[in-house]
Symmetry: C2
Subunit: 155 residues, 2 copies
DNA sequence: GTAGAACTTGAAGTTAAGTTCAAGTCAACC
DNA sequence: GGTTGACTTGAACTTAACTTCAAGTTCTAC
């Protein structure tokens, strides 16, 4: 086999992704592969770069959908340039900053609650959406937003 | 109906939880309800306190399983005391602090990458687990851990 | 005493990001 | 040329936290 043709298990070992994940990413259009005569996948070395990008993006907390969009937004949908990488990295940084700010706000609200003397659940405003809050239908609306508004249909 | 007996829709409105969520929480043992003659749910006002607690815990990012445990660990499994609330709040605060620290670490790593001159995906160590890394099977192992190692079986 | 809103149940569906499985095919080496 | 390990596919399963649905019952107000 030509050294530029990597098998599934080789890519899996070098990228850290499970073979099943690689097939899944292929179905999702994140990566691609040629085929051998017998129909087995043969990856170009390039795929390792893409997978590295995907790994980094996942660490930052992007969803596969977002990663797909980021990859599709690249010049020819191909190897990112230095400018691309800089731009994307800065975007990620902003995201992380926003996330930190959000959690800090929540933490500070909790701190206020701990220190404010209303430690009883009966009176604490963070814990107890009482009748005043309920009267206008706001319920626990004064609470900070969830850390990670997830995509589950419910919530 | 006695004013202490709340219907599903009343609790839903005052707590901010959907009726389906209330039934779900009941199945999970987080809340409970009496029944009317005809078999309909009649909640005690106490449930609003519990739901407020649940809402706050969810905002902090606890899973329902963790919330269940927190509620079960209470004195008689009943109304939390001032000491309970203080202890639990502090625990939450520590959690938030840890989460912030984790994201900051990731952000700082990303910053180093942006500034370090290896902005090409071909050379950047964050983006490209190259052959050196691959040789020992570490792949992208030097990357920070995911922000929120979720419970999905895969990953 | 009846219309209509609110309620009941269990089962199945949803989303993300994969994994696991079964049954069969390919590749490589001796 | 045969054995063994690597690979193929599609379908079904996983987890969390609910929602949606269908088909039927209860409550309340007029």
């Amino acid at each position: 086999m030509v050294s530029d043709e990597l098998t599934v298990s080789q890519v899996a070992r070098r990228s850290g992704f499970a073979p099943s994940a690689l097939r899944f990413y292929e179905r999702r259009g994140l990566i691609s592969a040629d085929r051998s005569e017998g129909g087995q996948r043969r990856y170009h070395r390039d795929v390792l770069r893409r997978l590295a990008f995907i790994a980094a993006a996942k660490h930052v907390g992007l969803t596969l959908t977002e990663i797909t969009q980021a990859l599709e937004s690249l010049p020819q949908g191909r190897t990112p340039t230095k400018a691309d990488w800089t731009r994307i990295s800065r975007h990620w940084r902003a995201r992380l900053d926003a996330e930190i700010a959000s959690i800090e706000k929540l933490r500070d609200g909790l701190d206020g609650c701990i220190g404010c003397g209303c430690l009883s659940l009966q009176r604490c405003r963070i814990a107890n959406p009482d009748d005043l809050a309920a009267a206008d239908g706001s319920g626990a609306a004064f609470l900070p937003q969830p850390l990670h508004p997830d995509q589950h249909p419910g919530r």
